[in-house]
Amino acid sequence: MIIRGNEPEQLRLLRKLYKPGNYFMQGNEAVAYGALFAGCRFYAGYPITPSSEIAETMARELPKLGGYYLQMEDEIGSIAAMVGASWTGFKVMTATAGPGFSLMQENLGYAVMTETPLVLVDVQRSGPSTGQATKGAQGDFFQARWGTHGDHPIVAVSPTSGQDAFWETIRAFNIAEKLRTPVVVLFDGVLAHTREQIKIPDVSEVEITYRKLPENEEEARLPFGDPHGDGVPPMPLFGHGYFTHVTGSTHKETGLRDVYTPEVHDRLVRRIHRKIEKNREVYEKYEEHFTDDAEILVVSWGVTARPALGAVLRAREEGIKAGLFVPKTVHPFPAERMRELGKRARAILVAEMNLGQMIIEVERYVNDDVLLKGVNKIGGVPLTVEEILREIRGVA
């Protein structure tokens, strides 16, 4: 049932089941279909609004593709089961929302430390705590980055529409596989429940990547080594007779635990950081609109990037030199490009559905003489074009 080695059969099934064309569907469904096209054949989850339709779609579609849907007893068990399944070779995914994401944090750290590829979709909802359980928000920007303990890198992507969610989910799987790391998809309750036209492509248009496997016994004996110098160790899967030892404790290249030697911890954690830092081309992605001559730069992400684009277009009609910068991979932040754009702009507006999270990241890369202002809204209702346009006019 592992897509590896059985790809022609999987492609045949995908073609037979999902004819290319335009469909009218929810953002959540688009995430699920993206996962199926990316080769996800194991889903373990626990229902939570506003993410539940992802689980429901996976429960309905996975068996058709020979894949497995597991409804676990809680979110902690869900991500635990994903890690177990990933070590047997599956591409795995779960979806949750704020409170569930909080519960998954410890094992997200485990996946970082054990370098286990997985995709975790957080359909952000209003908080803190139960908050407005059914409403969208963008308040988990830093939970994705710093929710688990210790020094760790994380990769998080954030789609801006239902169509984008389909492709960004596929991209999340490809990043996870290439870098042998968990990837967070920061989606949101608004797009999750918005129905719109979504184009399903032919499978040939979808790039599918797989994790690196050991080429020989020697590589298999070093599940946490770096034989190729890119910081990404080949992953010896369970059940192949390698006697692999996997632990969340500090371990040597062989996988055996050593929590006493400072150098071992230093070497391991720095390599895990390095493999993310050095492979920026694998995950870095952003979108730009009218940034060439923009005096007023709007920075936005996820759901808010859409009204932000509307506001920038309207501002241009009014003769205001406004531009838009949308990080699609939000962690690690596209620092270099942000720094370049920050040098040119007179004012930067950061629009998001929270009381100011990405703005903290943006602030690190802009000069003091730039007017930096947050355009924020909470309460479960997204920002409108008018609200953002008003702020652009205000600094024009």
Binding site: A80, A85, W87, L256
Partner: protein, 284 residues
């Protein structure tokens, strides 16, 4: 001396030699459990390549991971069974075994234990019950006997211990047995049966922790604890005719259930077949 023991111990072939000697305290029951597990694997002629061992956090989690030479997954506290669930779905033809302690599996991990039993997924759980949190310094556990002393119940434990085997049997496991480290041969036979059962199986092993539990409860020698187990063990057949008062402080040993129920991964694969058949997706 130590070298000689390793070179003559026939079960050493199942151990990860570079991880030895073990971190377990002198007199710990963990060695007996590892020995019994290795003997069961040997007795059934299971190739360790067909075995994945998963454990959580704590002294007993160390018994098989890293020491047992198989694919081993040493997980976060309490979650071993949930991790093992993912492994089993991915490798339904392999033996997936969880070895961990009472604090790990029945306290923080209690939810996963119950639901794995309910689901009846084909995982064998060897739960080492030493009545105490050993690794963190001897704190009270959900299995600490009523009245016993620990570092966080220094006057006496006023909580009632969880009856793990009874609970897991009620939750729907296919096979449940309880033995003590003083019943080594019965323990080996039970582990063998558990490994052969198609479904969720639990072998609870009452085990001695002379350092953290015994020392504070007038049994600082390992042998004293083993004598305590022997003296207070009651076979399940006899326990059925005893009153709750008579059973207070006793260890009911033996097989609690041994039954056939539909197994989770089998049902899951059957369901996939049916769905693919229904939608005409099978390759012609």
């Amino acid at each position: 001396m130590a070298k000689k023991i390793y070179s003559t111990y026939p079960m050493v072939k199942y151990l990860r030699k570079e991880a030895l000697p073990t971190a377990l305290c002198p007199g710990c029951g963990g060695g007996t459990v590892l020995n019994a597990f290795a003997n069961a694997i040997d007795g059934l002629k299971i190739d360790p390549k067909d075995l994945v061992v998963v454990s959580g956090i704590g002294c007993s989690a160390w018994i098989a991971s890293p020491y047992f030479l198989a694919d081993t997954l040493h997980t976060t506290h309490g979650r071993a069974i949930a991790f093992a669930t993912g492994v089993k779905v991915g490798l339904p033809d392999k033996k997936v075994v969880v070895i961990s302690g009472d604090g790990d599996l029945a306290s923080i991990g209690g939810n996963h234990l119950l639901h794995a039993a309910r689901r009846n997924i084909d995982i064998t759980v060897i739960l080492v019950n030493n009545f105490i949190y050993g690794m963190t310094g001897g704190q009270v556990a959900p299995t600490t006997p009523f009245g016993a002393k620990t570092t966080t119940s220094p006057y006496r434990n006023i909580e009632h211990p969880l009856k793990i085997s009874e609970t897991v049997a009620a939750a729907g496991a296919s096979y449940v047995a309880r033995w003590t480290t003083a019943h080594v041969y019965q323990l080996i036979e039970s582990i063998k049966k558990a490994l052969q059962v198609k479904g969720f199986s639990l072998v609870e092993v009452i085990s001695q922790c002379p350092v953290q539990f015994g020392r504070r409860n007038k049994m600082k020698e390992p042998a004293e604890m083993l004598r305590w187990f022997l003296k207070n063990s009651v076979p399940i057949s006899r326990a059925r005719n005893m009153s709750p008062e008579e059973l207070e402080g006793k260890f009911v040993i033996g097989e609690f259930v041994n039954r056939e129920r539909p197994e989770f991964t089998t049902e899951l694969n059957k369901l996939i077949d049916e769905v693919q058949e229904h939608f005409g997706l099978k390759e012609e």
